[in-house]
Amino acid sequence: MEKKENGASVHVRRVIAYIVLILLSFLCLVWFYILFVNATRSHQELTRGFRAYPSTHAFENWFNLMHSSQPVVTGLVNSLVIAALSAFLCTYFSTMTAYAIHAYRFKLRKFAYTFILAVMMIPTQVTALGFIQLMTKMHLMDSFIPLVIPSIAAPATFFYMKQYMDSVLSISLVEAARIDGSGEFHTFNSIVLPLMKPAVAVQAIFTFVASWNNYFTPALILHDDNKKTLPILIAQLRGADFLKFDMGQVYMMIAFSIFPVIIVYLVLSRNIVGGVTLGGVKE
């Protein structure tokens, strides 16, 4: 185990690794700790400067936020619905698209694959102009459809699924299912999808996060206050002359957008990170 001929010994490298990891962890967490502490302070306490321990005004700030003009609870629900639907549609149909290219030899296969790889580079923003015009014509402004349905065609997720499929799915497995009389659609749902679970888990998280974080497109589509998602409400808070606001309430609103995700993440983290680790390509 020990390799002392040249280079640092395992022991030294381990110590360095721990120091770097602890510093990075601090850098990741310190912001959220300050947010937590400040969300528990009153406006007067906040103006007096920073203290590193929590105060007692959390409930008061929460009460003020719930009774403010910002529809934060509706925003949270809207964000959740859009992100969950996007994650589901994106992973299911991207796996299906990858399976079409992976398992079948048809005339346009090479073309379809090259085409999808080529359009992977096109950011959604560069088509936003035409997108808004089309959605206006289709009367889909202020609807969730333009934010959910397009995730069915996600070239980057397709690319990840295809690469993963190349390493885990052998055609002989599909052929065996055919001999057993399994229909193609049934084979996809009951054999291919379960095999792809680790990749689906990883991509479902990434898609959920991308949709949850998305501010650009929803801000262009959603104008009705009851349809707005959390990022739009946060942007409105920034746009308001917020120094006149109760700062305790401002921190509470940021905490409201951030902490539910952190809690859910801490519960699921074993599956999230573990799912990725499981996703290691097996021979």
């Binding site: 999808i116 580079m121 089309l134 946060i234």
Partner: protein, 302 residues
């Protein structure tokens, strides 16, 4: 004979499974892309209450946008802030992924560290930017802490310094993405055949040598993926600077990115210039992506 026809019959399912992608892509991406390009050849904007156009003007929008200094300024802003975030991101991620997957290190609390470094990625970018704006405000906690520690005498105005604002954007991008990149690279490293590492170790290679000569080359496909997605993400940079500066890109428009500029055109309904800018962004993304593909020698044959 019978077998061949069966295979052909199966293969038509390739088309069937491609239908959802094709239909959705055509409606929500392809038609908008074509109409965006179409718009770029027209003069079409509002001047006060008056609607000008749409009048066909050929490449005049492009000529205007390219001769105007703004485009280059905003492209520079975008790339500078991307690089400030990406360079530490890829280096730290490679290092962490190598450490996490190195069996001889046997790091404890791996689960904890992975959980923590991935955490900022889940944070809504706009909320994170809003948080940084309040934390780094003149009367905010960061200034308060620095003064209490005796590092500063009076508050430093982060939001009026070009370097500080750009670095804040870079720092946020780094924090949000290095955990994600680490996990992707780890998945790639775990996919490498362990016997290769063992063989290298038997041959007396150091950890550094194994990393450079075995891990890195075998990791190339996943590195390509990370680089392409980050590059595209970088060009799309919007939420963080938009919220941090309330869409102004201040100080002195030094943090105004290409997409923030496009967003301004979309809101003011300047569809001609917005279209031309979109097409240029489309071309820049394309050229950069092809360059990355070529540079790293990926083939799309398989």
């Amino acid at each position: 004979m019978k077998k061949t026809s069966k295979v052909v019959e199966y293969n038509k399912w390739g088309y069937i499974f491609l239908i959802p992608f094709t239909v959705v892509y055509a409606i929500f991406q392809l038609i908008p892309l074509i109409s965006t390009i179409y718009n770029s050849f027209f003069e079409n904007f509002r001047s006060g209450l008056k609607q000008i156009g749409p009048n066909f003007i050929g490449f005049a929008n492009y000529a205007k946008i390219l001769s105007d200094g703004d485009l280059w300024k905003y492209m520079g802003n975008t790339m500078i802030m991307w690089i400030i975030g990406f360079v530490p991101q890829i280096l730290v991620s490679l290092l962490l992924a190598a450490w996490f997957t190195d069996p001889s290190l046997r790091l404890k609390c791996q689960q904890f560290f992975k959980t923590v470094i991935y955490l900022p990625n889940l944070i809504m970018a706009s909320a994170f930017a809003m948080l940084f704006f309040t934390l780094f405000a003149d009367s905010g906690p960061v200034n308060s802490i620095l003064i209490q520690m005796g590092i500063l005498e009076k508050p430093f105005s982060f939001m009026s310094s070009v370097t500080a604002t750009r670095c804040l954007v870079g720092l946020m991008n780094f924090l949000m993405w290095f955990g994600n990149t680490t996990i992707l690279l780890m998945a790639g490293m775990m996919g490498i055949d362990q016997s290769l590492f063992e063989a290298a170790e038997v041959d007396g290679a150091t950890a550094g040598q194994i990393f450079r000569k075995v891990t890195l080359p075998l990791l190339r496909p996943i590195l390509v993926y990370v680089m392409i997605t980050s590059l595209i993400g970088g060009l799309q940079m919007f939420d963080v600077p938009q919220i941090l500066t309330n869409g102004s890109g201040d100080p002195a428009r030094s943090t105004l990115t290409m997409i923030m500029w496009l967003n301004k055109h979309l809101y003011s309904k300047n569809f001609g210039m917005g279209g031309a800018l979109s097409v240029l962004l489309f071309l820049v993304t394309g050229v950069l992506s092809i360059a990355v593909f070529k540079m790293t020698g990926t083939n799309t044959d398989k």
